[in-house]
Symmetry: D2
Subunit: 328 residues, 4 copies
């Protein structure tokens, strides 16, 4: 490691999330502020392996704060999973006089960054960018807030038609391993039931809730289901089961899908991404490495990378309790 950081590379990796562009912009502009060069790496780790670099100046990130996706692109990289691939990446960085690397992405990308740091003692700081919010060391990942609003607005629309026809909708949202999106959007759209990986309700409980909901005079019902097999069933099987056991319900399924990953970022995510981007640059300049930038108690703080990748942040069980209470 050189004494001083004079050139910083930034890449986005893994599933994209709204606000990644805002984070890149903050990294680039913070580099300008501190008179450090900034290099954009295209297509994540694959771009490292291939040396797909481009210098980024303050004007190159004009008008991207409001764009979904990532203009640096993201991609899977099988090459980076090999020693040879990572050696190629390291040579490319060294050849380009790059002193440090900022990785914007999720859990898997952080592990890649950690391995790279260990093998080559190359300074790495990571920024949590994923809609799933399933990262230790931060209460909010970039894109989570936007995804919640996207889901909620879609379900508000579904509620219109559900209530016009007195129907029951099963709506599948993202979050295979973490129920954050389902739980928060479920409360936000007043879902009658929320099914998340962290909790095994059992099918009887679901049927009971829906029976009660019908009895209470509700003219429509929404069940939010985090993707993946829940209770041993996917969302279509869940719907089938309920339709058979509660024939009074007219059941429909909607899988929201990839639109949850896109869209203009919310103000929350833009501000968060801006704070994270600046902090990442400043941490590198202070000689820090192998940390993730995160938000804890509304403060931007660092968490050692090995802690950040250890399982996800855990849901707020009190939210589940509140949802049960007020979705009657």
């Amino acid at each position: 490691m050189k004494n001083q950081i004079q050139k910083i590379a930034v890449l986005t990796s893994g599933g994209d999330s709204p606000g990644m562009n805002a984070a890149i912009r903050a990294v680039v502009r913070a580099c300008c502020f501190y008179k450090v060069e900034c290099i954009g790496v295209f297509r994540g780790f694959q771009g490292l392996v291939e040396g797909d670099f481009e210098p980024l100046g303050a004007r190159d990130v004009n008008y991207i704060i409001n764009r979904g996706g990532t203009f640096l692109k993201s991609a899977r990289s099988d090459a980076f999973r090999t020693v040879e691939g990572r050696q190629s990446a390291y040579r490319n960085l060294v050849d380009a006089d790059i002193d440090a690397l900022i990785i914007i992405g999720g859990d898997g990308s952080f592990k890649g960054g950690m391995t790279f740091n260990q093998e080559f003692n190359f300074p790495v700081i990571t920024i949590p960018g994923t809609i799933d919010n399933d990262i230790n060391g931060t209460t909010h990942t970039i894109g989570f807030d936007t995804a919640l609003n996207t889901v909620m607005e879609a379900v508000d629309k579904i509620r219109d038609t559900a209530s016009s026809h007195k129907r029951l909708f099963f709506v599948e949202v993202m979050g295979r391993d973490a129920g954050h999106i389902a739980l928060n959007s479920g409360i936000g759209c007043g879902a009658e039931e929320i099914i998340i990986p962290e909790e095994n309700l059992g099918m009887e409980r679901l049927v009971e809730t829906l029976k009660k909901s019908k009895a209470s005079g509700k003219s429509s019902s929404i069940v939010i289901v985090a993707e993946g097999e829940k209770l041993g069933k996917n969302v279509f099987e869940l719907a089938d089961y309920v339709e058979k056991n509660l024939p009074e319900y007219d059941v429909r399924v909607s899988v929201l899908g990839h639109m949850q990953r896109g869209g203009a970022p919310s103000c929350f995510d833009r501000v968060l991404a801006s704070r994270f981007g600046v902090k990442a640059v400043e941490s590198l300049l202070e000689g820090k490495s192998n940390f993730m930038v995160g938000l804890i108690n509304d403060q931007v703080v660092l968490t050692p990378l090995d802690k950040a990748v250890k399982g996800n942040s855990g849901i707020d069980w009190d939210l589940l309790r509140i949802s049960d209470m007020i979705s009657i």
Copy 2:
């Protein structure tokens, strides 16, 4: 038929669409203006059969112009398909001193209305409310414009993530028998290909287009598919076929589903619904019956109901040509 219309009933039937509430509001307020009573019928034809009526005054339709769905609800009615059911409906109308009926809905609802009119010589005017835009005698149905924006905004979000990952998305939109939604939203979101029921491209053409799109340097592609089996394949089978034949593509599928039916209506739909609602009332007051209100050449006009229900309006083939030209 009495000499004068003094009480008008209004119902919504079939799939709901954004703007139905705005149409109901216009009917109610126009009745107030002409000092005619207005009766809301709940749950479509089923509410006619059961006599589920409620008087509606000007204040009962406050703050509904901006709401998706229909506050009068909609429902299937097996009873109304029987002679006994329709007789019950007629008796309920007569018992309530109702002189005429306004039906807001689609093709199927219009046929029900036509039958009812023929059997009992009961004055009926219909208003086209469906997102599919598949009605003869009007260039725009209520809800179509809103649905286009809903689809387009969802696909704009999908484009963000598609372009970040250089992916190909097959997006299924509504319109089983009519390609209006697919065609217009497809142009609106710059889809590389649009697959509609009115045209049999053949799989080779699809594969050709996608090859050309890749060759031209596009970093992502969107194919909009109207729901239903197209080219002998559903959207998932289409995607599979392409993935096998174009392994260079990373393919994903998104089925937009019922969110397309909901949401706050666009200004276009609110204005259209307002014009249609007023015209329906005025037509009844002029002694007209058995007509559909529609928009032709930007004018609100009447079309005989039997013409309106005869097949759908046909797509604008020039749009398809334009789409092919500019989606390169």
Copy 3:
């Protein structure tokens, strides 16, 4: 004029409107389709005078269909109002081997184009792009539909707070010389009164309407006012007058301003812009000149430029009648 058009320039001029980028994209892509070169002129007529040109290929207009504003920029040009300026513009076009010019803008820009065509016999086709919808020869200008939705969504928000506090809001919208925005958005948001330049209601009528509205039990009122001095008063003076004469009202003013010009274009505007752009190119290739592309009876047609610039399209008086009827 050469026998054949081989190079077409395109510029945007006057106030920008949502959908201009979609129109540019369609022009560029249609040129590609017909194997004609396309040149972008930056900053409107000023760019013509200065020769601020850049070739545009299919990939240069990626991802702009959904962007508000115009990436070619717009600007006032005093130089182009002079003979010398226009001569310079002509020389620049000739020097760059450009054979024809497409102008996207409003009334004022069309007059500039017409003068230029007359002076140099240079082929010109124009495309109506303005939120005001005040152009003869087209029922819809590019951006009008988007602006209606922008205004309506803003007023929907204002209605929330108006109704919570039982207030009366005067909301000023754009359209100094034409009431199209005020009239359509006014119906769309259920405004109690709409004040447009085409109609002189007189202050008494306004006061009467508001008295009636109060008496009818309404908990809030919205008056939409087209910008400019109406009834001899600006929107603040109107509000003052009403507050003095109807002390029972708690009056507020909101001037929506320039946000009305921006935003992602609606699907309607994107499709319209796409159709107009293609038609403009095809018209030039067919040897047409001095026409405006427009929409009449849902068909894209040409109108001689001198007719297009002769006063604006006139409001639909029936809309005003309907608004009065259903805003009770």
Copy 4:
């Protein structure tokens, strides 16, 4: 005070904010859950004075979680500022067997609640509902997050037109005494400068920033100004000053106004309101009084009411530093 709370009244007071309805819904549903009666008080303190009460059951708050404003209405109450008024309020509560009061509103409303509690020893819990976020004891007030998105989306639109014309816009946002909205939305929309009541930049600094911005090649600039007289000037005077001193800028002003208070609440605000509403009911049932519910370190906690009303929460100065750094 009775031993047990069996009937709880809820009211909204002061300026409305998006999410108030969600908070009312949570209060009502939590009351149902704990088998406690819930009474809605209309028009804030004025409704207390007049006894404008209505029982609220679970179904009465259907479909309001997504609505801006407050269906219980809000109003100024001069009567409640008098001892007689408050005595009348107390009698009405006692006559209706109401045991406790939940007040949703801002600083001023909390002071009213505190006085009432002191005079009559009547149990009061308050919930912070204001877009201004200017309350001690909570990092977020209900409506703040929604208002940020509303402002940001409006400014994104203004940016479209600003950048098309290379203009400088002064945009006035709400927050007379607190710069939270200006600061966060300013970062979110990439504003070149943010002017807030907490900081006196001086006019020279503003002019310097704008000069630098121009020099750096920016094609448009946005200055966000918190309402009220800043630097001794209102937003129009600021704009005039800059136009005179920086004639190279084409300056415009936009005052966003009351639309900032309305609109469907964001997911963040709906979840926050739900948590606050439940906590308020549970606190009363635990015998607590004279507290405000708030969010600190992502936990819902209580703050003594006299602390909550003591000045506002203070801005995060680090945000200002970040804004300066990345808005270059």
